[in-house]
Assembly symmetry: C2
Homo-oligomer: 149 residues x 2
DNA sequence: ATCATTGCAAACACTTTGCATACGC
DNA sequence: GCGTATGCAAAGTGTTTGCAATGAT
């Protein structure tokens, strides 16, 4: 099914503490989910998944957690979808592809010659996001309607 | 102030009609605004600007118009801002820079070797957006707080 | 007369805020 | 016990939808 390499809680704790974030159970759970499933999930996706194991979990906590982790630079907020924010844990720089049919977001590699620059046209660059949109290989194969016209 | 090169209504009409869009007064106004001011406006920005001349104008009409123009490929919807959609009229491919301080969006040029590809990792590519985020040159100069720490 | 566009009001969806409760050291 | 994290409810904001009125041919 989905490949979920196990991630030690100690690693997650260290990761959070190294950025001065207290490793609460909820925060560990959210971070673990993002790292394990490399799904680029939305708040709702995380909420539905974690609610099964943590029935008392609130969406507010997920919002709080993700805003905190983004602010601390532990995760990245992707503005690839027009209606909802997706979240990503990626150290190395890579681009993203979102399928217009199924909505999934995939990592794609880009030979980025410009990704390392600190300034562009006099503007100070803190972050670069490269977004591809189209139809993913899964949806192309499943539904060959797209090939017919 | 803002450089607004005048654009003939005939040009706008032809542009719309060539994509099977009836050139109503409201649609012409919205399209003209986007092409003239190149400031990648939000719905609200367009609404506030055009309301002065068209007091009966409704936000719904702007949403309708922009969705239609996007669908017809006349304008591009930018997902660079996390909360609101920005719109752009750009024929040639270019990247965008959004300032975290003032919120403005600028065009930036990128030597894009990968912008022409139709497929990436097996996914069919319809659209590419390159988003830079940081602090624009204006805000850097005005407020040297950013340089101090 | 017919059909599409407009625009008000309401509904929707995502996110943030206020505040009381619960938790951890 | 004190300070912070949690989570419910409500508010806020951007966008879409239902539908009646208006406008164009």
């Amino acid at each position: 099914m989905t490949k979920t390499k196990n991630i030690s809680t100690d690693y997650l704790k260290e990761l959070l503490e190294s950025k001065d974030v207290k490793p609460s159970f909820q925060r560990l759970s959210v971070l673990k989910y993002i790292i394990q499933k490399k799904n680029h999930p939305s708040v709702d996706t995380i909420f539905k998944a974690l609610s099964k194991d943590i029935p008392t979990l609130s969406k507010t906590t997920i919002y709080n957690t993700l805003n905190l982790l983004t602010q601390k630079g532990i995760v990245t907020a992707l503005t690839i979808a027009d209606n909802e924010t997706r979240y990503d844990f990626g150290e190395e720089h890579h681009a993203h592809f979102q399928c217009a049919v199924c909505g999934m977001v995939f990592d794609v590699k880009v030979d980025s010659d410009f990704c390392d620059r600190d300034f562009i046209d006099g503007h100070k660059v803190d972050e670069i996001q490269v977004h591809f949109k189209g139809v993913c290989s899964n949806c192309l194969n499943k539904n060959n309607t797209f090939l017919k016209h």
